[in-house]
């Protein structure tokens, strides 16, 4: 028996959500008296996985596997899950993980529980707490299959170091390519920007900003905080910002540690999608804006006045605390 994670790396560095998966898996393994293991595509040093309790790393290491392809990745993970006797497979909430998990579920005839927010409370049967109705509720979900696959909601379980020794097992998967059903082409990705999925801090702005030409200060605030930028739905529908920044019930979910909402009224669909964030700061000219009721900290003020000052003050704070 084991617990297996899909460890995703980007340019040789494991993503935070994979380290959260490692933390979760190693705590689960300890409770069950078993080992936490990882599947890695491409050649990456396993040190940081070992830091979070992964004691065996299957490295799938041949040319084609460098490039993500849902069917072939799911197939390879399924092979390893069977080989290692995995009872639980833990993934993050990345776009790639979300593509693999349902396919893996079919391979292993294993239940898939998505959006898991905390450590399982029961292991027989396995039961997980997950978000439903876009954070308007939670469900305790019981698994009736032998094996379970879960994806963790970002930043919910957190990072818990548990250093161990990690053995690396090289896997040659010549058949991997035969499993592919799509051919990946060009990638269009902003360099050096943090994605909403990975961000611990998200700076988000709405129609209160008046027009796309005013986003310079939003980008700057995000940059000084090491944050991702996001926006409300009308802002993306108006073409002021790309659709990939639209957050909320019908956009991307946000579960950051800090969410700063600037010139966003706080419609129910927006709130539902961002409410899993731990701390919310709202900046709005209208003291009656509904978002204030959902905020931890509120500032009534004009974004054009407040944001430039806030940028300067955070810069000063950062340089003092560096």
């Amino acid at each position: 028996m084991s617990v297996l994670i899909f460890a995703e790396q980007e340019q040789g560095v494991f993503r935070k959500q994979s380290l959260e998966a490692a933390s979760y898996a190693s705590a689960w393994a300890q409770a069950q008296g078993t080992t936490a293991e990882a599947v890695v595509f491409g050649n990456t040093k396993s040190d940081s996985l070992a830091e979070y309790g992964i004691s065996k790393c299957y490295m799938i290491n041949d040319g084609p596997s460098e490039r993500f392809e849902a069917h072939s990745y799911a197939w390879a993970i399924a092979q390893i899950a069977v080989e290692s006797g995995a009872k639980l497979v833990v993934l993050g909430a990345s776009a790639n993980a979300q593509s693999i998990a349902p396919l893996l579920s079919v391979h292993l005839k294993a239940a898939f529980v998505s959006g898991v927010v905390s450590m399982t409370e029961s292991s027989t049967p396995m039961t997980f707490k997950r978000t439903v109705f876009t954070n308007k509720g939670f469900s305790q979900t019981e698994v009736t299959s032998e094996v379970a696959i879960i994806s963790l909601s970002a930043n919910a379980y957190g990072l818990h170091p548990n250093p161990v020794h990690c053995d690396t097992i090289e896997k040659n998967r010549a058949e991997l390519q035969d499993q592919a059903k799509t051919t990946p082409g060009a990638v269009d990705k902003a360099q050096g920007k943090i994605s909403i999925a990975d961000a611990e801090i998200v700076v988000s702005a709405g129609r209160g900003l008046k027009g796309p030409e005013n986003w310079g200060m939003i980008e700057e605030l995000a940059q000084v905080l090491g944050a991702a930028t996001a926006c409300s739905k009308p802002v993306s529908d108006l073409g002021w910002r790309p659709h990939s920044e639209h957050v909320g019930q019908t956009g991307k979910p946000v579960a950051s540690n800090l969410y700063i909402a600037i010139g966003i009224s706080g419609a129910i669909q927006h709130l539902a999608g961002v409410s899993a964030s731990k701390t919310k700061v709202v900046i709005n000219t209208d003291p009656e804006a509904p978002f204030f009721k959902a905020a931890d900290y509120g500032i009534v003020g004009d974004a054009f006045e407040v944001i430039p000052q806030l940028i300067e003050k955070i810069k000063a704070f950062k340089s003092q605390n560096a």
Partner: protein, 248 residues
Amino acid sequence: MKILVCISNVPDTTAKINFKDNDTQFDTQGVPFVINPNDEFGLTRAMWFKEQNGATVDVATVGDASVEATLRKALAIGADEAYRIDTPALDGYQVAAELSALVKENGYDLVIAGRESIDYNGGMVPGMMAGILGYSFIHKCIELNIDQQTATAVREIDGGKESLTAQLPLVIGGQKGLVEEKDLKIPNMRGIMMARQKPLKVLPGIGAQPLTQDIHFAKPEARSQTTMISKDNLDELIEKLHTEAKVI
């Protein structure tokens, strides 16, 4: 080309969510239901395939008779035939297995489902269908074009997008981008009249079993008070974010 659009019948985005029977069931009383927003984008994209390539477009929902109003709306938007698989939707796996049986039966080349339904947020039905059927799979699909048997698509990845090609048959998990918000088709009077004549077929289902069960629901805990800070005192905000919330 034969297209199936999988439609999830979900509470309106503004609906308040309550649970009943000792928090073991979602309380649907007084809740207005709509086509899942992600599926609306897919349905409109399918209509364009119909207009431009002469595709046929069917829609299907797994659920009891209460979902029929939503299926009628899809017919009014322009779908040719609707299927209701007459069994309660219990989990993603069971729904995917039921829908896959229909796909096999009718031989669809393209299955359009949504990235996620906004009720149980599973994000799994399209991928599971692709797995069960052995079809190509593109999740979070934001652009889709088809020439003969080849699909050219764009999917969203974290922080960007990726172009890819795939052979039909294909399942996608679709979302905004397939078409824009302003392009969404809404039913007009003529469509509504025509929908009354169109077939809405009720199938018994294959008796697929779920792999999970929701045993208990809860609402989020009431949140703490909002601390208001003067716009002339931004240092206080920074101080609180640092020492109280510990997020910077």
